[in-house]
């Protein structure tokens, strides 16, 4: 049972973080980003390659994070911004195309073998009695996930963060009061890329990642974001953790094969039962 809970919190942290990355970009740039996990994967692979070439672990970690930020900003400036005036569908499709291209590019450069990011604590475990051992990497995932959520919440209380919220609530008005929407969207994409890099890196230090990882991770990220109504940071984070635990419980007591279906069911139930959480978001686009 404890093992189940810890496993659930661990994968839940990944879902929650990726959900937060999606929500941050949503807030400022108004794009549901299907390429989020791919950005994280590319950044993580850069880090793994560096670590494999003998670069010290922490330097590789920092490089991974910087790569995530840069990728996010470059994508925003080079691809997304010019499309913003065409509405949502082209933006959404652009992220799907980007996701395809990034996955294929990753496969071309690094191959399709699964990889892991060896951390100094990889393989270490803590005995908690009763023959149950908790991996240090699991604890790292959970703690970093929590810290990440706190940091992002703090970020939104800064002046830049407040502007971002203003943009999310009303783009035109925000522009009228002198908010530079372009700069904000670049910042949001950078922050999103950073969180995505952290997410995939956490998964890589505990388990394995490959070019197949983004496709399933992004769905869970969207489930978490949906649970937070695509606006609430707390809702997204809690939603991700709850999703992780539900998944483990379903896997333990029903069937591992049912896990994905349950996640889909959660999305649907949330969308149908809590539509009020979405009307605010809807009005933004629909008037």
């Amino acid at each position: 049972m404890l093992q189940t809970l810890v496993s659930g919190l661990e994968s839940g942290s990944w879902f929650a973080l990726l959900g937060l990355a999606i929500v941050v970009v949503m807030k400022a740039a108004d794009v549901p980003n299907f390429a989020m996990a791919d950005i994280g994967l590319v950044a993580t692979y850069v880090g793994i390659s560096l670590a494999g070439a003998g670069v010290p672990f922490w330097l590789a970690v920092v490089t991974t994070l910087v790569t995530g930020i840069l990728l996010g900003v470059v994508i925003d400036v080079a691809l997304m911004r010019r499309l913003a005036k065409y509405g949502h569908f082209p933006l959404l499709l652009m992220t799907i195309g980007l996701s395809l291209a990034l996955t294929a590019l990753t496969g071309l450069v690094w191959g399709h073998d699964p990889r892991s990011f060896r951390a100094p604590w990889t393989g270490a475990a803590i005995e908690v009695g009763g023959g149950v051992a908790i991996g240090v990497s699991q604890i790292v995932s959970i703690v970093v996930g929590l810290l990440g959520a706190v940091a992002i919440s703090a970020f939104f209380t800064t002046p830049v963060g407040a502007q971002m919220r203003a943009v999310a609530e009303n783009r035109a008005t925000a522009r009228l009061v002198g908010v530079n929407a372009g700069r904000l969207s670049a910042i949001a994409w950078g922050v999103g890329g950073l969180i995505a890099a952290v997410t995939v890196m956490l998964q890589a230090q505990s388990a394995l990642v490959s070019t197949l990882t983004p496709a399933s991770l992004i769905i869970y990220g969207f489930v978490a974001a949906t649970m937070g109504g695509f606006t609430s940071l707390f809702g997204t984070f809690a939603g991700g953790l709850v999703l992780g635990i539900i998944q483990q419980l379903v896997g333990t007591y029903i069937s591992t094969a049912a896990q994905f279906s349950v996640a889909l069911l959660v999305v649907f139930l949330v969308l149908v039962l809590r539509p009020d959480g979405f009307t605010k978001g809807m009005r933004l686009r629909d008037v």
Partner: protein
């Protein structure tokens, strides 16, 4: 301006209809008609392989084996004086591309036979098409046996390998067997093996039988469930990534018993599962369809000397040895057919192998017989153990208990 081209087009269409009706008639090719892809001095074979995509590493190994074999055959003057021409298409590991490619090989490239193609999930989509065209498929990797006249399986199927592993576990005194299988054709094969072989070992029970989502790396709850039942041995029917992940997690939770996966899942002989699994791979058991690449078996030595000269990627992998052996076996079969290259004689000669098997040394003897079960030409599977950074033979080739071979 528009009318004249239109008239011409209509006339052309009418002419075509009048002249070319034979092309769509469902006569099929009669047995006496000369088969395509074979002339006095050339024989064309084809394969579809996952040269790219998620199974690219194995696909490149499979391709290497075919190319090495074809080069060797041609340098010795071909098969009965016919140069071998191999057409290899890439399917990117997508099943519908496998189907399209097989149609292209048969209808457009006019191959004599399809030799050593891969794609256990895509190939079943070609069975009906092959039946209509009577094109033989020699050594596909590794679908379940469709029990049809055109298809010959040259090595132990996944199910047979799993059966051999179950026997092995029983021999080692395991009482409690844990199973983790994927929700696709891999899982279906494992279930078939359990259903056939468990009744033969009444002392051993399946204590956990977990199914995981295809393509998902969420395996931890399956591992937790299996561990909760305290198994003596674990059987995996998963892809390379999931196998590696499960192996890591099992070892991390202190499981020390034997863990087995079939040739494809374990990547026996190659790095595709053991490399990502890292230290957890020590002691991992893999099914063997062909001999391990590092053995000192002379047939393997011969292949290795050629493989080391091969220019492309993955020349010396286990997959390369497998397809190399399949192509060499095909060459031997065609040689035995002599001057009569008709498909009827192909079937007759192949099904006669039961009494006079093709012995290559690198894979179990190929002894195809008549349908319904005879086209699984080898039931014997070996087991290799990954130890000290390389694969070594743990148990030589043998058939599952009670299979009659």
């Amino acid at each position: 301006m528009l009318r004249n081209p239109l008239l011409i087009a209509v006339a052309a269409a009418a002419a075509l209809l009048a002249t070319a009706c034979g092309n769509v008639a469902s006569s099929g090719s009669s047995d006496s008609a000369p088969p395509p892809g074979i002339t006095k001095d050339q024989i064309t074979i084809g394969a579809t392989l996952p040269l790219t995509g998620t199974a690219a590493v194995s696909g490149q190994g499979l391709q290497a084996g075919i190319k090495i074999a074809v080069d060797e055959l041609n340098s010795r003057g071909g098969i009965n004086g016919r140069k071998v021409n191999a057409i290899i298409l890439d399917d990117g590991f997508t099943p519908d591309r496998v189907v399209t490619n097989v149609r292209r090989l048969v209808s457009q490239e006019k191959v004599y036979a399809i030799v050593a193609p891969a794609g256990s999930q895509g190939l079943p989509g070609t069975w009906q098409f092959l039946a209509q065209n009577k094109t033989p498929m020699w050594g596909p990797i590794s679908p379940a046996d469709p029990k049809q006249s055109e298809v010959y399986l040259l090595s132990a199927t996944r199910a047979s390998q799993d059966q051999v592993a179950i026997d092995y576990f029983a021999k080692k005194g395991a009482k409690r067997l844990g199973v983790i299988r994927q929700d696709n054709d891999l899982g279906v094969s494992a279930k078939l093996a359990l259903d056939t072989q468990m009744p033969k070992h009444p002392d051993m029970q399946v204590v956990a039988n977990e199914t995981t989502q295809t393509g998902s790396t969420e395996v931890s709850s399956a591992v937790n469930n299996v561990m909760a039942q305290k198994p003596d041995a674990v059987l995996l029917a998963e892809d390379n990534t999931s196998s590696a992940l499960i192996l890591k997690q099992l070892r991390a939770q202190g499981f020390t018993g034997p863990v087995f996966a079939d040739q494809g899942a374990a990547g026996t002989g190659g790095p595709s599962t053991v490399k990502p699994a890292g230290a957890a791979a020590e002691g991992f058991l893999g099914g063997m369809q062909s001999d391990t690449v590092s053995t000192d078996n002379p047939a393997v030595e011969h292949w290795r000397s050629l493989a080391q000269k091969y220019q492309g990627d993955q020349g010396t992998s286990g997959f390369s040895l497998q397809t190399y052996s399949y192509v060499m076996a095909f060459a031997e079969l065609v040689k035995r057919m002599g001057d009569d290259v008709s498909y009827a004689n192909f079937t007759r000669t192949a099904e006669g192998l039961a009494s006079n098997p093709i012995k290559l040394g690198s894979i179990p003897d190929i002894q195809c017989g008549p349908l319904p079960t005879g086209h699984t030409c080898a039931r014997q599977a070996g087991i290799a153990k990954y130890t000290g950074g390389k694969w070594v033979v743990e148990q030589p080739f043998m058939a599952p208990e009670g299979s009659g071979t």
